[in-house]
């Protein structure tokens, strides 16, 4: 049983990572590896699609915190999209909307990157 999976989709103007299932201390390392690979390839514009994410704990939130500084220093960003009410509430509880743009649609998040560049 490993009810977490992710899908990477290199689009323009950003890479979309779609998360599915449960993002907790057990599954967060997989997301961490994926973002690390992106940085290694010089890709720093990232949209996280949360549409199929059922659950997130602080271990999952920590992954976003862990990379955001480096990514922004390199002129990129992490934008979040399509969070369910349940997942959004956790972000909200921690004040993440102050730090990250959380868009309702993946397309909007991609558009925000187009506007940036």
């Amino acid at each position: 049983m490993n009810n977490f999976s992710l899908k990477r989709d290199d689009r323009e103007p950003a890479t979309v990572i779609s998360l599915k299932g449960y993002l907790d201390a057990h599954t967060a390392p997989e997301l961490e590896e994926t973002i690390k690979s992106l940085l290694d390839e010089g890709k720093v514009k990232i949209v996280i699609n949360l549409n199929e994410l059922d659950y997130i704990s602080s271990a999952g939130l920590g992954v976003f915190m862990g990379f955001i500084e480096e990514i922004r220093d390199k002129g990129g960003d992490i934008k979040l999209a399509e969070a369910s009410d349940k997942v959004y509430r956790v972000f909200d509880l921690l004040g993440f909307p102050m730090l990250y743009e959380i868009l309702s649609k993946e397309e909007e998040a991609l558009k925000r990157f187009s506007e940036m560049s």
């Binding site: 449960y22 907790d24 201390a25 704990s57 956790v90 509880l93 004040g95």
Partner: protein
Amino acid sequence: MNKITDYKLKIPSKTDNLELIRNFVAGVARKVGFKEDDVSKIELAVDEACTNVIEHAYKNEKDKDIDLAVKIDFNKLTIVITDRGKSFDMKDIKMPEMEKYLAELRVGGLGIYLMKTLMDEVDYVVRPDGKNEVRMVKFFLDQS
């Protein structure tokens, strides 16, 4: 419900088991009448507490035991999580001021903050027998 009802779970200390723990506690909370909103809060608080036991008390040694008890009495649900690993003093842990925390882009240190935000009471004690105990309470309030 007048009598105290007890559910107990003993489970090996690996993050792989967090999902089982969450599902079990969420199942009990739902069964005794908490609404989905509160079920989610209880589920997340328990995950954070058990993650801390695995990572900090047991330093990721697998196959140590986590003991989890869920007690139901007439006005509240109490979760007690017990470990035999490294102790700490919750009073030493400074609660982040979230605005400042985020501005500084810090990593980690959100677990206890979440537990305290999600639950009505959170205590941590080192028991006389040397075991550590996290105790969290959620009251039944206008649950329907």
